[in-house]
C-alpha cells in the first residue's frame, strides 16, 4: 500500500499532507510531553524538505512515464465509496504529466522565495502551502470525477487562507471574492456532473464516477450525451455551458476575470506565484480534460463563442495591462491575455492548437510564476510596487535586472525561450481552424511585447530618480538559486521542446480520436448529423520539425 513503485502517484499526492501530519504530531507531542513547541524554522525546513521530496517524486513520474502510450499510466484504483461508484482512481497521461511536474517544481521554488518574506505565522503558512500542494496534485491526477471535484474545491481553502492571512491591505475582500467566484462556478458544475452521472448510470446500468473506464468497464467518458430529443438540461449544449462556466471562471476567461487582478495583487508573493502558476491552469485543464471530450458537439458549436471571448481576453488583457501603474497588476492582466491564447489554442481542436495550449499552460506557469516571484523580491525590499516608484534599477541590481529580463522575454514569447514555442503552435493551430482569430490574436503578441517592455524600461532603465532605490541590495544567494531555478526550464523548453511535446503528442492524438469517436456515436444516434464532421480530419502542415521523427510516426498511427 505504501510501496513507492506501485503507488507512485499516491505518494505524489499525499506526501505533502503526510508531512503536515508528521509535523502536527511532532508539534502536539512536543507540547504535551516536553511543553515546548517546534520552532518556526524547523517547520520551514521540514516543509521545504517535503516540497523537494514532492518535486522529486513528480520527476520520478516523468521518468517512469512512457511517452509512446497515449492512455493513462501509473494507474491506481481502489474502492472508496463503492455504493456510489466512487473510486480512488488516479492516473497520469500526457495531458497532465507536465502540469504535475510544474506543480511539483513551483512549490519548493516559492517556498524558497518566501523564506524571509513570510515571517509571521510560519507554521500556518507551511501548513497551508503543503495542503495546497496536495489539492493541486490530486486534482491533476484524479481520474474519478468525484475525486477530482473533491480536490478541485479543496485546494481553494488553503489559497483562501494564504491570500487572506499574508496578503495586502485589501486581502479580505480579494480572498472572499476569489473564493466565491470560483466556488459558485464549480457548484453548478456539480449539478451537471450529477446529471451526467445518472445519464451514465441509465445507459450502463450501474453508478459510476470513473472518468475513463477501468479494466474494460465503461466510464463517464463513454456516456452518450444527447444533443437533442431530451429535456434541455440533459443536452450537451447546456451541460457544456455549466462545465464551461466553472472552468471559465477559473481560467479566467474574459467576462469572468474580475476576481483575478484583486486576488493577484493582494496575495502574497508565493500566493500569486502558485495562483498564476498552477491554479489558473485548472480552468484550461478542465476544458481539455473534461468539457471538450464529454461534449464535443457542443464544444464545436460553441467554439465561436470561445474564440470570441478568448480574443477579447487577449486584447482586453493586454490593453488594460498597458495602463497599469502596479507591476503586479500588470502581470495579472497579462495572465488574462495569455490564457486567452491557451483557450483559442484548445478550441482550434487540432494537434498544434492543443499541444501548443498544453505547452503554453506550462510556460505560463513558469514565466508568470517567475515574474511574480521576482516582483516579490523587489517588493520585499521596497514595499511598493508602483512602476513610478522605480527607474534605473538595472544600475543597482544588475543580476536582478537580468533575470527579470529573461522572464519578461519568456512572457512575451521571444524565440529560444519557452513562450515562443507555445504561442507559435497555438497560432499555427488556430490559423488552420479560424484564420481571423489567429490574426486578431497575433495583435495580442505584439501588444504584450509593448506593455512588458515598456514596463521593463520604466523600471530598470533610465535615471535612478528615486533616492529610496539607491541603496537596494542585489539578489542574495538564496534568491539567486530561486531565479536560476526558474530560468532553467524557460531555456529548456525554448530550446528543446521536443522532450515536452513528445509525451503530449500521443495523449493529444488519443484525445482527438476520442472526440471523433464520440462525434460519430452522436451522429449515429441522431441520424447522421454531427458538428464534428466539419472539422478537418487531418490537420495540414504538421510541424514535424519540432518533433523527433520516430515519435511523430508513431503518434500518427
Amino acid at each position: 500500500m505504501f510501496d513507492l513503485q506501485e503507488n507512485l502517484l499516491s505518494w505524489v499526492i499525499f506526501l505533502p499532507i503526510a508531512g503536515i501530519g508528521i509535523l502536527l504530531a511532532l508539534e502536539a507531542a512536543g507540547r504535551i510531553f516536553m511543553s515546548r513547541r517546534l520552532s518556526d524554522r524547523s517547520w520551514r525546513v521540514a516543509g521545504m524538505g517535503f516540497a523537494l521530496g514532492n518535486f522529486g517524486l513528480s520527476l520520478m513520474v516523468w521518468q517512469r512515464f512512457d511517452p509512446i502510450d497515449g492512455g493513462l499510466q501509473l494507474v491506481e484504483r481502489s474502492a472508496w465509496i463503492p455504493d456510489l461508484g466512487i473510486q480512488y482512481y488516479v492516473g497520469v497521461d500526457g495531458i497532465s504529466l507536465f502540469l504535475v511536474v510544474m506543480t511539483g517544481f513551483l512549490l519548493p521554488v516559492t517556498l524558497l522565495a518566501s523564506w524571509t518574506d513570510i515571517a509571521s505565522r510560519v507554521k500556518q503558512y507551511v501548513f497551508f502551502m503543503l495542503c495546497l500542494q496536495t489539492g493541486m496534485m490530486g486534482a491533476f491526477l484524479s481520474m474519478n470525477l468525484f475525486l477530482f471535484y473533491l480536490f478541485w474545491e479543496l485546494m481553494l481553502i488553503p489559497m483562501y487562507f494564504i491570500i487572506g492571512i499574508w496578503g495586502g491591505p485589501r486581502r479580505l475582500y480579494a480572498t472572499l471574492k476569489f473564493f466565491i467566484y470560483t466556488m459558485a462556478g464549480s457548484l453548478l458544475m456539480l449539478v451537471g456532473l450529477l446529471v451526467i452521472y445518472y445519464l451514465n448510470a441509465q445507459q450502463f446500468g450501474f453508478l459510476n464516477f470513473d472518468y475513463i473506464g477501468y479494466g474494460g468497464a465503461s466510464g463517464i467518458i463513454d456516456t452518450l450525451i444527447p444533443t437533442a430529443g431530451a429535456p434541455w438540461w440533459q443536452t450537451q449544449f447546456w451541460l457544456f455551458l455549466v462545465f464551461g462556466l466553472a472552468f471559465a471562471v477559473k481560467v479566467p476567461m474574459f467576462p469572468f476575470h474580475t476576481w483575478l487582478p484583486d486576488a493577484h495583487v493582494e496575495a502574497p508573493t508565493p500566493g500569486s506565484a502558485i495562483l498564476a502558476g498552477v491554479l489558473l491552469k485548472f480552468g484550461t485543464y478542465g476544458f481539455i480534460r473534461f468539457a471538450m471530450p464529454l461534449f464535443p458537439e457542443a464544444a464545436v458549436e460553441l467554439s465561436g463563442l470561445v474564440f470570441g471571448l478568448g480574443v477579447a481576453g487577449i486584447i482586453y488583457g493586454a490593453l488594460v495591462a498597458m495602463i497599469q501603474q502596479d507591476i503586479k497588476k500588470l502581470v495579472a492582466y497579462s495572465s488574462v491575455s495569455h490564457l486567452g491564447f491557451v483557450m483559442i489554442g484548445l478550441f482550434a481542436m487540432n494537434l498544434q492548437g492543443l499541444e501548443g495550449a498544453l505547452l503554453q499552460m506550462v510556460n505560463h506557469g513558469i514565466s508568470t510564476g517567475a515574474l511574480f516571484i521576482l516582483i516579490g523580491m523587489i517588493y520585499e525590499r521596497r514595499h511598493v510596487r508602483e512602476i513610478s516608484e522605480f527607474g534605473g534599477l538595472a544600475k543597482v541590481m544588475p543580476v536582478f535586472a537580468t533575470f527579470f529580463l529573461i522572464a519578461t522575454f519568456s512572457s512575451i514569447g521571444l524565440p529560444m525561450l519557452n513562450g515562443f514555442v507555445g504561442e507559435f503552435l497555438i497560432l499555427l493551430g488556430t490559423f488552420a481552424a479560424a484564420p481571423w482569430v489567429a490574426v486578431l490574436a497575433t495583435t495580442g503578441v505584439i501588444l504584450s511585447a509593448v506593455y512588458m517592455l515598456w514596463m521593463y524600461r520604466r523600471v530598470f532603465f533610465g535615471p535612478l530618480t528615486n533616492e529610496a532605490n539607491r541603496g537596494l541590495l542585489d539578489l542574495s544567494a538564496r534568491e539567486k538559486i530561486v531565479a536560476v531555478a526558474l530560468t532553467l526550464p524557460m531555456f529548456w523548453i525554448g530550446i528543446y521542446p521536443a522532450s515536452f511535446l513528445r509525451p503530449m503528442d500521443a495523449a493529444v492524438s488519443e484525445l482527438m480520436r476520442t472526440m471523433e469517436q464520440r462525434g460519430a456515436d452522436i451522429a449515429s444516434h441522431n441520424g447522421g448529423q454531427s458538428a464534428l464532421a466539419s472539422l478537418p480530419a487531418e490537420t495540414p502542415g504538421r510541424v514535424s520539425w519540432l518533433r523527433e521523427p520516430d515519435a511523430s510516426a508513431e503518434a500518427a498511427e
Binding site: Q124, L154, L187, L188, L190, L194
Partner: protein, 508 residues
C-alpha cells in the same frame, strides 16, 4: 381485561433514558448533601462534572443499545396497538439524537459552571427531552407523536431560559415557549381534523384511508404540516429561531439546532412516508416553494448577521431547506440522504455552537462574530474546529457537509432524470446557488479568526478537557464522514422503506 402483548426489549433504550431522567434530580440532591457522609462537601463545579458524566453515561448506554437495535428486525412496544416502531430509521435517528445530546451533555459541565448556572435540573431536563425526541422519531401514531413532541419541547423551553439572570435568556425561553405551544396547538387541531376524517390515529391507517378529495382531511394535513414546520423552522415559520437561538444558553441553542431538528425531521419523514403518500402531488408544489424559500431566506439573512449564534440560527434555517429538498424527493435515496445529512449536520452545527459555548464565559461572552477576531492566534484549536465546521456547513468537499449535500442533490438529480422533471432540477440548481451564497457568511468566520487582529482584552478561555474532547470529536467526525462516508452506508442501507409495510399487518 387481558394484559397487552408487550415487548419491553423494544423500548429498552427509551427506558434507560427515562430512568436516567427520573434519577438525575435525585443525584443532584445527593450531591448537594454530600456533607453528611463525606468529610467535606463536593464543590458545585465537581458536582456539575459528576452530573454531566452521569448523563453522558446514561446516554452512552442508550446509544449502545440503539446500535444493537439498528440491524435487528423492526419491533414495537405494544403489539396489539403499535404506537411506535423501532426500525432501522428509528434506530438511526435515535443514534443521531443520542450522539448529539451525549456530546452536549459532556460539554455542559464546564459550560454551566462558567455561566454560573450549574443546576442539576439541566441534566434531568436534557434526558427528558432526549426521551421525547426518541419517541418522536419512533412514533407511528399521531397521539404518540404529539406526546413525544411535547416531551421534547417542554424541557427545552425551560433549558432555553436556564440563565435566569439574563433577560435575553428569559425572553428567548418565553418566545420559544409561545411559538412552540402555538405550533403544538395548530398541530393538535390538524390531528383532530385528520382523526375526524379518517377515524384513526395510526399513521399507516390514515395513509390507507386517505381520501384525497376530503377537504377536512386536507386542511387537517395542512395544519399538521404547519405545526411541524414551526418546529423545524422553515420559512415562513422560522422567525422565532434566530431570537431563540441567540438568547438561549449556547449549548442549548446547539441542542435546539441539532437534535431537536433531527427529531422533528424524523417525525416529518414518518408522516410523509406512512400517511401522506396519497397527496404527494398536492404537497409537491407547496414543499417546493417552501424548500426554496427556506434555503434562500436562511442564507440571505445569515449574511447580514453580526452575532454568531444568530448567524448559525439562520444557517440552520438554510439547512432545513436542503433537508426539505431530500424529503421532497421522497425516494429511498432521498430519505437516506436526509438521514445522512442530519447526522453530518449534527456534528458540524454542534461543533460550531460548541466553540461559541467555550467562549461564552459569564460576563464576557464572545457572541459577536467580530469577537472571534484573532482567535487563531490565541486559541488555534478552537479556531481550527470552528473553521472545519464552517467549511463543512458551507459544503466544501472533504467534509461531512459536502457529502450530505452531495447525497441530497444526487437524489434530486436521480429523480429528476428518472421522471424528466425539470422543476426538480431547478431545485438542485437553486440549492447549489444557495450554497454559493452561504459561502459569504460561513467564510467570514474563519476570515475573522485568522485574518483579523484581536481586539485588546483578556484572552479567551481555554476549552476544558471534556469540551475539548467534544470539539475534537465533532471536528474529526466532520472530516471522517466527509472522507469515508461508506462505513455509514452500512447503517444507511438498513434504512428500508419496505420495513414499514411489515408493520401494517401488525396494526389492528
Amino acid at each position: 381485561m387481558t394484559a397487552p402483548d408487550l415487548d419491553l426489549g423494544a423500548v429498552a433504550p427509551l427506558c434507560v433514558v427515562a430512568v436516567g431522567a427520573a434519577l438525575m434530580p435525585l443525584l443532584d440532591v445527593l450531591l448537594g448533601r454530600t456533607k453528611t457522609f463525606l468529610s467535606r462537601p463536593v464543590t458545585a463545579a465537581w458536582a456539575g462534572t459528576v452530573m454531566s458524566l452521569a448523563t453522558t453515561g446514561v446516554l452512552s448506554i442508550a446509544l449502545v443499545m440503539c446500535f444493537d437495535a439498528a440491524g435487528a428486525a423492526p419491533r414495537t412496544f405494544n403489539r396489539d396497538h403499535p404506537m411506535i416502531l423501532m426500525d432501522g430509521m428509528t434506530s438511526f435517528l435515535n443514534i443521531v439524537i443520542l450522539i448529539g445530546s451525549l456530546l452536549t451533555a459532556l460539554a455542559s459541565g464546564k459550560f454551566l459552571a462558567d455561566l454560573a448556572i450549574n443546576r442539576g435540573e439541566y441534566y434531568a431536563l436534557l434526558l427528558a427531552a432526549v426521551l421525547g425526541m426518541m419517541l418522536l422519531v419512533a412514533s407511528t401514531n399521531l397521539m404518540m407523536l404529539f406526546v413525544g413532541l411535547e416531551l421534547m419541547s417542554i424541557p427545552i423551553y425551560a433549558m432555553a431560559g436556564f440563565r435566569r439572570d439574563s433577560l435575553r435568556s428569559n425572553e428567548s425561553a418565553l418566545k420559544y415557549f409561545l411559538v412552540g405551544s402555538f405550533a403544538s396547538g395548530i398541530l393538535l387541531y390538524g390531528t383532530a381534523l385528520i382523526y375526524g376524517a379518517t377515524g384513526t390515529l395510526s399513521l399507516l391507517e390514515i395513509g390507507a384511508r386517505f381520501d384525497v378529495d376530503d377537504p377536512v382531511l386536507l386542511i387537517g394535513s395542512g395544519l399538521l404540516l404547519v405545526g411541524l414546520a414551526f418546529k423545524i423552522a422553515t420559512v415562513p415559520f422560522h422567525q422565532w429561531a434566530p431570537d431563540v437561538y441567540e438568547g438561549a444558553p449556547t449549548l442549548v441553542s446547539g441542542l435546539m439546532a441539532t437534535t431537536v431538528k433531527v427529531a422533528a425531521f424524523g417525525a416529518l419523514l414518518r408522516v410523509f412516508q406512512m400517511a401522506f403518500g396519497p397527496i404527494d402531488d398536492l404537497l409537491y408544489p407547496a414543499l417546493w416553494v417552501m424548500a426554496v424559500l427556506t434555503m434562500t431566506v436562511g442564507n440571505v439573512m445569515a449574511i447580514i448577521q453580526q452575532n454568531t449564534k444568530r448567524m448559525l440560527a439562520y444557517s440552520s434555517v438554510a439547512h432545513t431547506g436542503y433537508l426539505l429538498v431530500g424529503i421532497l424527493v421522497g425516494t429511498q435515496v432521498g430519505i437516506s440522504a436526509v438521514l445522512f445529512y442530519l447526522l453530518a449536520y449534527t456534528f458540524m452545527t454542534l461543533g460550531a455552537f460548541g466553540v461559541v459555548a467555550v467562549l461564552a464565559h459569564a460576563g464576557r461572552e464572545r457572541e459577536r462574530i467580530a469577537d472571534l477576531a484573532g482567535l487563531a492566534n490565541s486559541r488555534i484549536f478552537l479556531a481550527a474546529v470552528m473553521t472545519i465546521c464552517m467549511v463543512s456547513l458551507a459544503g466544501i468537499p472533504g467534509t461531512a457537509g459536502f457529502m450530505g449535500k452531495f447525497y441530497i442533490f444526487r437524489a434530486v438529480v436521480e429523480q429528476a432524470i428518472a421522471t424528466e422533471s425539470s422543476s426538480l432540477l431547478w431545485l438542485a440548481v437553486i440549492g447549489v446557488l444557495n450554497s454559493a451564497i452561504s459561502l459569504v457568511y460561513y467564510l467570514r468566520v474563519p476570515m475573522v479568526m485568522f485574518m483579523r487582529e484581536p481586539e485588546p482584552g483578556p484572552e479567551p478561555d481555554r476549552s476544558g478537557t471534556f469540551e475539548g474532547l467534544v470539539l475534537a470529536v465533532c471536528a474529526a467526525a466532520v472530516i471522517l464522514l466527509g472522507i469515508w462516508p461508506e462505513d455509514l452506508n452500512l447503517i444507511l442501507t438498513r434504512v428500508d422503506v419496505l420495513h414499514w409495510a411489515s408493520v401494517a399487518s401488525a396494526s389492528p
